[in-house]
Symmetry: C2
Subunit: 137 residues, 2 copies
DNA sequence: CCTATTTCCTTGTAGTATAATAGGTTGTAT
DNA sequence: ATACAACCTATTATACTACAAGGAAATAGG
């Protein structure tokens, strides 16, 4: 289950990709268009700025803007940065020490195969794809 | 992220499928073999019994046993029963009323495609597959 | 320089879920 | 009768989610 953090992040990135005017777009505008709490959105955008997916500018005329072209962002990147990890099971998370039962675990190959499939799926979807309307994948 | 509830459930079902002796296998035996807390496992097995994936028998010589042959259980079935839902986003959960933004949501098709893929993956893996050692899917 | 704007930063918080634990009750075989 | 083992009803520590509040710092226009 993907939390609102990751989902909102994607929606906001798509929103910014849609507004293809140059210049900065303020948070309040995005929040009201996407119907997301401003204060909560702040937290999400902070992550995206920190990770250089967005540029933020303070003060009058400030706001947020993309740092690359929409085709250069993948859903995978946005989701993993905001969600922390998309690993399905704890023993496959990046920081997970990997449980001691791994060698004899009969379900592990299934989880590995699943995680690979998830990666393939989201890493082949770009912001541009989403803006142009994904019909089927 | 799949919680321990679903993961333990799968491991226990695989464990039971492996012990192909007929008769009932007590919880304590499964718990120690799988290194899972007995009390927590009770909760999980209760769900599986209630949903008729397992038969439980009390008293001496009692325990748990499968109600079908391993090839007749899918990972999907076991996971959805114990996890509640595998829907990736709230707006696609079975009881979810579906959010008002659906028609204009550019990310929704991506989530739908993903959920379909997840279903296809887990519904094609049976307990028998897991027991025989899944190498690649 | 002043002021309005808007991001950035820190802290708090209600609600919910997870992963258990504790202790008792009912049913079953010998 | 008794040992065994599932079943049932609570309780709990911990953590995460999805916010909300209030202020500090930066920026543009007048």
């Amino acid at each position: 289950m993907i939390s609102t953090r990751g989902r909102y992040a994607l929606r906001v990135m798509v929103d910014l990709a849609q507004q293809n005017r140059d210049g900065y777009i303020p948070l309040g505008e995005i929040a009201s268009r996407q119907e997301i709490s401003e204060k909560y959105l702040e937290i999400i955008l902070k992550i995206l700025v920190k990770e250089k997916l967005l540029k933020g500018l303070r003060g009058k005329g400030g706001g947020y803007k993309l740092t690359r072209s929409p085709s250069e962002y993948t859903a995978w990147e946005i989701l993993t940065l905001t969600e922390g990890t998309l690993a399905t099971v704890a023993c496959l998370a990046q920081d997970g020490e990997g449980c001691a039962r791994s060698p004899k675990c009969l379900t592990l190959p299934m989880w590995k195969g699943f995680d690979k499939m998830v990666y393939e799926y989201f890493s082949h979807i770009t912001l541009e794809d989403l803006v142009h309307g994904l019909t089927m994948v």
